[in-house]
């Protein structure tokens, strides 16, 4: 039973970390343009970031498993993200930006699993779904508020100010982290993995991937991102064109609306994750993606469909964001490889998202945007079917809320 203080600290940690991460999205391309970087150079910098993200997922997950003090990992990663933001703001030339991209990628790969691990340690396996639902709620609040604040900052102040603000927002995040009391973190899981040491990382990774449940679900994650990631970027420029003077408002709504939906429904999704409706909710969440793609195909004529499409985005984001860590925890309950599993799913997410934007861009150039949307919708249907099948084979039933997990000693 964790105290209110620790739980609230974790809540606000999620909020401020989401704040910080919002500044590092597509906005980097805008900022580098204002610093007279050529498009080719910007592309290279972003590609380096993507590669760094993918390469660091597995080692970061393994590292978080093995380090006892998860809070220290989160703090270190948070500081690294802040340093990265400062580098972007202060020294926007080639070597500094490359360093900042790599630093941010590695730090993000550590931060996600660290927060999930703290959540698991605080809530235990039985209460994990609810705790992650709360995480998602505060993270989406953070994303929504930051999108507005940073967007206004970028429009009315300067692009550089956005990164300074991002760096400053790490301070309240660290304060929130300090509110999580170390004594309340159940350390059984940490101790078991920490005894392994780094040399076993490769062996553990192979063992984890050999588990067909993990592999099946990783495949679902890839398919989900393959169908989901490129949807908004594909139609965003159409929306801007059609909306004219209201373009910024439309885009702001498109970004904030899904976050609002996640804020509202994620605790409910978290509760569902702990019960037998998990499979149904998961499939519905995945099925929202092809539906959204179909709506986007019609949005060029009816911009109001954008609102409905982005509501669906919120639904799928909430389901995905809450369910994935819960499933990772279930799959690794007896091997205590929770963070490594999160790393595997993180790698799958990054790979799927990258492939999505690449393929969608190619198809849109070669054929048409509608063809690309239909292709993504097809992937989405595949993803929903895959997750329906994969979750049917789910093994351990969720434990009742009041049963604590003890290590086999």
């Amino acid at each position: 039973m964790a105290s209110r203080r620790s739980n609230q600290g974790l809540d606000w940690l999620n909020f401020f970390v989401a704040n910080v991460q919002t500044g590092f999205g597509p906005f980097i391309a805008v900022y580098l343009t204002t610093e007279a970087w050529t498009q080719a150079e910007i592309g290279q910098a972003l590609s380096l970031g993507t590669i760094a993200v993918m390469l660091s997922q597995l080692p970061a997950g393994g590292l978080v498993d093995r380090l006892r003090d998860k809070r220290l990992v989160a703090a270190g990663a948070g500081i690294a993200v802040a340093v990265s933001a400062v580098l972007f703001a202060a020294v926007p030339d080639w070597p500094a930006v490359m360093l900042a991209e790599v630093l941010h990628s590695v730090a993000s790969a550590l931060l996600g699993p660290a927060i999930a691990a703290i959540s698991l340690a605080l809530a235990g396996y039985g209460g994990l779904g609810l705790r992650l639902g709360r995480n998602a709620r505060f993270a989406s609040l953070g994303n929504g508020c930051a999108a507005l604040a940073l967007g206004l900052c970028g429009a009315y102040l300067s692009s550089r100010a956005v990164f300074w603000l991002t760096a400053i927002l790490m301070l309240p995040a660290l304060f929130a982290l300090s509110q999580v009391q170390a004594g309340e973190l159940r350390t059984q899981a940490a101790d078991l993995a920490a005894d392994r040491g780094c040399a076993s990382l490769l062996r553990d990774t192979v063992a984890l991937l050999a588990d067909r449940h993990v592999l099946a679900f990783a495949g679902c994650v890839v398919l989900f991102h393959l169908s989901n990631a490129a949807l908004l970027p594909l139609v965003a420029s159409d929306v801007t064109r059609e909306a004219g003077d209201m373009a910024n408002l439309f885009i702001a709504i498109s970004i904030v609306l899904p976050q609002a939906v996640v804020t509202v429904i994620s605790p409910w999704v978290g509760r569902a994750a702990d019960r037998s409706v998990r499979r149904l909710v998961l499939t519905l969440g995945f099925a929202a993606v092809p539906l959204r793609a179909a709506l986007f195909a019609m949005v060029a004529d009816r911009p109001e469909l954008l609102v409905a499409a982005q509501l669906l985005d919120g639904v799928s984001a909430a389901v995905f964001g809450v369910m994935v860590p819960v499933i990772a925890a279930d799959l690794t309950r007896h091997s205590n490889q929770f963070n490594l599993c999160m790393g595997v799913f993180g790698l799958a997410s990054a790979a799927g998202a990258t492939a999505s934007t690449f393929l969608a861009g190619r198809i849109a150039d070669a054929a048409s945007e509608t063809t690309a949307l239909l292709a993504l919708a097809g992937c989405g249907i595949l993803a929903a079917l895959a997750v329906l099948l994969a979750s049917g084979q789910r093994h351990p039933r969720p434990l009742p809320l009041d049963v604590a997990v003890e290590p086999a000693s």
């Binding site: 919002t22 999205g25 597509p26 906005f27 980097i28 391309a29 805008v30 343009t33 204002t34 610093e35 007279a36 970087w37 050529t38 498009q39 999108a147 940073l150 967007g151 970028g154 429009a155 908004l232 970027p233 965003a236 420029s237 929306v239 801007t240 064109r241 004219g244 003077d245 373009a247 910024n248 439309f250 885009i251 702001a252 498109s254 970004i255 150039d365």
Partner: protein, 160 residues
């Protein structure tokens, strides 16, 4: 360090400086002669001559803000397209978008851009069209595909 040490190094530099000075002198009259004679270039290329642009004369293009006739921001220049003769025909602008999402790339005619440099080199770049007017232009993809360039509407006799 002793005084002797410092002066010794200076003495060593002295002949070098004289040599450099001697080499520099012939460059001054050479620039004046350039238009009159056609000097055949030796296979080993000689050093480039230098021209200057006065302070306030030059305006950078990449990443610079372009404003419309209503003084509202249209976008930023991300690329300059030149034709076969090397003349700039269009500038590609990054238009619109919020926090990096939803921006489009539109090519606008070079002749519609006006560069007004200022003494600090940060001149204003003004486009003859507003963001709304270039809204319907198809997006710019790449230089090796046919490019649709937005040009100012013809000011002809009013059509019914």
């Amino acid at each position: 360090m002793s005084l002797f040490h410092i002066s010794a190094s200076r003495v060593r530099l002295f002949p070098v400086t004289i040599l450099l000075f001697a080499m520099a002198l012939p460059h001054v009259p050479a620039r004046a002669q350039e238009p009159a004679q056609a000097v055949p270039h030796p296979p080993a290329a000689s050093a480039a001559t230098q021209e200057t642009m006065a302070r306030g004369e030059a305006t950078g293009t990449l990443g610079r803000v372009v404003i419309g006739p209503d003084a509202k921001v249209v976008g930023r220049i991300i690329e300059v397209l030149v034709d076969q003769a090397g003349e700039p025909r269009a500038a590609v602008l990054d238009v619109g978008g919020f926090l990096g999402v939803g921006s489009r790339r539109v090519a606008v005619a070079w002749r519609a851009l006006h560069f007004n440099p200022s003494p600090d080199g940060q001149g204003r770049i003004v486009l003859d069209m507003t963001a709304n007017q270039i809204r319907a232009t198809p997006e710019y993809k790449a230089a090796d595909k046919p490019v649709t360039v937005a040009a100012p509407p013809q000011a002809g006799p009013a059509h019914p």
